[in-house]
Amino acid sequence: MDVATLTTLAGIVEYAVPVLFASIGENFTEKAGLINLSVNGTIILSAMSGFVVAMTVDSIFLGFLVGAVVGAIVAAIVAFSSITLKQSQVAIGFVLALLCRDLAYFLGAPYTNKPGLFLSKVPIPVLADIPFIGPVFFNHSLVVYASYLFIIIAYVFMFKTRSGLMLQGIGERPSAAFARGANVKALRYFYTILGGLLIGLAGPMYSLAVKIGWAGQLSGLDGIGWIALAITIFGGWNPLRVAFGAYLFGGLQQLGITLQSTTNIPIQILQAAPFPLMIFTLLLVNVGRAEWVDRELAAMPEKPRIVLSKILRALRTSPPASLGVPFENE
């Protein structure tokens, strides 16, 4: 396999990482029954603050830490407004998405295009020498290796541990979980803030590792958060499937970069290519639930009907039953 292909594949693995953290972070939040719609703004704000802090105090670690804290604070506002004050989750999330983005562009202006720190590549000894697999998976910066572990940990935690079961409980049937002694509100706070922390990590992952630097509104981060939200739905609230969605998105972005150098399609068009695809995939995973589809299917001859309904059922995803519904103890 030639070098160019390997570089492209390695790029997909790398580009998927921030989206992967953000989408799985949102996955945790939504499993608990809340929607944090602020993702797009959170990523941009934490990318800016992580970059600036890392540069000023000369510490990449603090850059990541600050990114995570920014994400956690934004998520805490969403949690307070939705859980304690019972305001619309969409309203607060949407406002924060816009506010955080503008805050980042406003406060980050003096640091635009300044040289800063970045994570260098650390090839893993032995593994990096395996043909094909080595250059694609094991010649990256630390965040990429962290993402491999993270996917597995998130999956195992959510589906194979007691705490994970509790997490599913408060998102599916909070009253039942409450009856069994779970502190639904506290847990929802916890998972919303945990999710925000992970979303916040995605920012410095861009500015310090994957898309190095801060270029204000030209950083190319606007829109990624909305995609991350869609990937959570596409992934059916399952970290493995969500990770798959993130890799698909990484692939599309890489494809854009490749096409840009070989054709003369304007870059803006390539950057927007994932969005029509996002709508299309959302249609695919949702359409199986629509009434008219059932009617059409019922009118079909048996063979295509069985095949079609099997495909639709495989694609279909359903959200946690109490997603977006406030919970009352009484």
Binding site: A91, L103, F106
Partner: protein, 357 residues
């Protein structure tokens, strides 16, 4: 998944103007100002000086003041459209893309009728019709996807925003590119007879001001004084109950989207004929998103949308003055964002106190 706002959940600053309510809302404004000032201090700027220069920038001269009104026009039209979808319990986040599509169709119409020798005012009228059609078309898409595809209108609309912008960029760089070299600065300008003239000595076209007033009054009457408005509100409160009571909810959802798209399209046509004179990549100028913020603040009260939209427009125009202090124009977004954030939070605290009493 229930992302739809319910009447009880949505923020509303101006419901009953008792003094206590007024005080609570004032608290939200003060909190927003405190936090914004803090941000200014972080950016190493004098807050008072910044606010003063925003006022200067918005009201300092006739030109500036009329620019505020010219910016109020598309904002109040966008907000009016969004009040229909909000009342029906829908989050039409695709508003921005609908304005862009309105601009695309408007410019397209000018390109078609450019050389036909028709009377310019007739051509402008046709271009507005085309813009309206573009807006309606783009607004019905998330509506249809929601009803027949099960795709939440928030995600449908968001995706379509980007698709609309991509379509505009494709036209600018491709089929509609300027003679010679394509440029991100937009398509060729429309001919002078097709541009709406300004009132002498100002930055404002009388035509668009009249359109905005008609749209705002129409919205207030439709929502407050007709059966249509009442039914829409019933759907917004509980669409299943409304359906059982005999309201054709599907049709009303699409009507709300359609009306919203109609106004989005008109806003797009206004931006082309009185501001930009061409199609640019950012043809919506953010009015769709800003309109959502205003609509969230005023909730079901069309009258207040004119006032809040004026305040927001003044901020957006006045804020450009900050460049002389070395600050960029994202400041308006920061102040507007904090304002809505604190209104939502303080309103939540008020409701919590009321239920506890």
């Amino acid at each position: 998944m229930s992302l739809e706002p319910r009447a009880g959940q949505t923020p509303s600053i101006l419901k009953k103007s008792t003094w206590i309510d007024f005080g609570i809302r004032l608290t939200a404004v003060i909190l927003a100002l405190v936090f914004t000032s803090l941000i200014l201090v972080i950016a190493k700027a004098q807050p008072l000086e910044a606010y003063k220069s925003i006022l200067q920038g918005a009201f300092g001269t006739t030109i500036k003041f009329t620019s505020v009104i010219a910016s109020w026009v598309p904002l109040v039209i966008a907000t009016s459209g969004l009040l229909f979808t909000f009342t029906a319990g829908l989050w039409n986040i695709g508003m921005e893309g609908q304005i862009v599509m309105g601009a695309v169709f408007t410019v397209g119409a000018f390109r078609i009728f450019d050389e036909t020798g028709l009377d310019p005012s007739l051509v402008i009228f046709l271009a507005f019709l085309a813009g309206a059609a573009g807006g309606i078309f783009w607004a019905l898409l998330p509506g249809l996807m929601k009803i027949y595809g099960g795709v939440n209108e928030i995600f449908g609309g968001l995706g379509l925003n980007f698709v609309a912008k991509t379509a505009a960029i494709w036209l600018i760089f491709g089929p509609w590119k300027r003679p010679g070299v394509a440029s991100g600065s937009g398509t060729e300008w429309i001919d002078i007879p097709f541009r709406l003239p300004y009132i002498p000595g100002t930055n404002l076209s009388l035509t668009i001001l009249i359109i905005a007033i008609i749209v705002a009054v129409f919205t207030a009457i439709m929502l407050k004084g007709t059966h249509f408005g009442l039914r829409l509100k019933a759907i917004g409160k509980n669409d299943k109950a409304a359906y059982i009571l005999g309201i054709p909810t599907t049709r009303y959802f699409l009507l709300a989207f359609g009306l919203c798209g109609l106004f989005a399209g008109i806003a797009g046509a206004i931006l082309v004929t009185s501001k930009q004179y061409s199609l640019i990549p950012d043809a919506g100028f953010g009015y769709g998103f800003l309109g959502l913020l205003v609509a969230m603040l005023v909730n079901y009260h069309p009258i207040w949308s004119a006032v809040i939209a004026f305040f927001f427009a003044a901020l957006s125009i006045g804020n450009t003055e900050l460049q002389y202090m070395g600050l960029n124009s994202y400041f308006a977004g920061v102040l507007q964002g904090f304002l809505v954030l604190f209104v939502v939070l303080v309103d939540g605290v008020r409701k919590r106190l009321v239920t506890k009493l």
